[in-house]
Amino acid sequence: MAQIFHRSTNFISRLSIYGAVVIIGALGYALYAIAMSPWYTDQNVKRQQPVPFSHRHHAGELGIDCRYCHTSVEKSSFAGVPPTQTCMTCHSQIWTNASMLEPVRASYRDDKSIEWIRVNALPDFVYFDHSIHVAKGVGCTTCHGQIAEMPLTERAGTLYMSWCLECHRQPEKYVRPKSEVFNPYYEPPSAGEQLKMGKKLVAEYNIKSLQTCSTCHR
């Protein structure tokens, strides 16, 4: 009986096997690259807001504490977006003619909410609580990035579950002294020092490495 396949088809079969591996690999990588890209995660994407509020100016240059506006961050799951009254505390007296601030004045005058564009949002099936994080030595900038350098606010992390778990698995890598939680210029010590200090703080603050599903999915 004659050969069904010519010898040259050996090459083709090898090529298809190895080629398939390469293509599946490349597809996987492409999917991963897309999933991690700012285009998909909104990480480091600046949002246009009704008023171009600058954290760099307020929290950075002026040195206003985070809690001055985000008043509920220590006692609630939600850090709190300030009411217009908080803006007007200062802006009833300074920059009163700035056209940039007209939406703020209009909001105060007409009792209408300023519709800020949400920057950090989690899916509804994720429970997150700010108060416990700041109470256990997780700094604002650990998740929100160099907020004091942001003229327009952007999302600093991917907000993926893996991103949360990085810290939940090894809190000692990220924890800082409680006195530095609200310091936007805090710089962690070198990796080795951080680990040493982190282990001490984890024990001192009784930080649990919570990784059960129901910690966040409840």
Partner: protein, 230 residues
Amino acid sequence: MEYSKLRTDLIPGVFGARGNTRSARSLARGVTVACLGTVALLLFGCRLDMHVQPKYLPYEPTDFFADGRSERQPVPGTVARGQLRLDELMFTGRENGVVVDKFPFPITRADLDRGRERYNVYCTPCHDYTGTGRGMIVQRGFPQPPSYHIQRLRDAPAGHFYEVMTNGFGAMYSYAARVEPADRWRIAAYIRVLQLARNSKIDDVPESERGKLTQQSAQQPSGQSMGQSR
């Protein structure tokens, strides 16, 4: 022929085997099934009904109410459970309508520490870290508040500071929404500390503590001085 067409369309150049053979056909079929399966999985992954649940998160807008707010103002006169404010001193700084110089609870070291922390967060933008009224916002054009160290304010009763924080005063807005009543009292107590510190002499400090004082002024505490140092 159908499969051979399909497979070359799918992944050009790889499955271009000569002839429409049985093995090539089954391979192509496998690939088709795998692709359809992936597409089906991706489609299922696109359901968002758990991502966006029919509930309102804080400040989420709504079409239901005319003003677009999902959070509603309570009916005027509503008293939340546990918030019936009967203690006149605690919630107004007055007794029988008169502003008094006392605190509604004994002030401990912990209260003073908390008072300092709250003061540094909410008051320093204008009143600055020592209470002279030259904070960063004042430097940027806000009307300068009086220093805590003038005679009128050194003589003012503690209830006066509580009242100003609660209701606002002059250009200063109310801080009632930002600082809780007990914390307002702790801030008032810390203002007393600032006043005391400003006007004390080294002889007022117990001898055992004096070394600490010079040591502390040499090295600024981190964190607390963050706003100033810039």
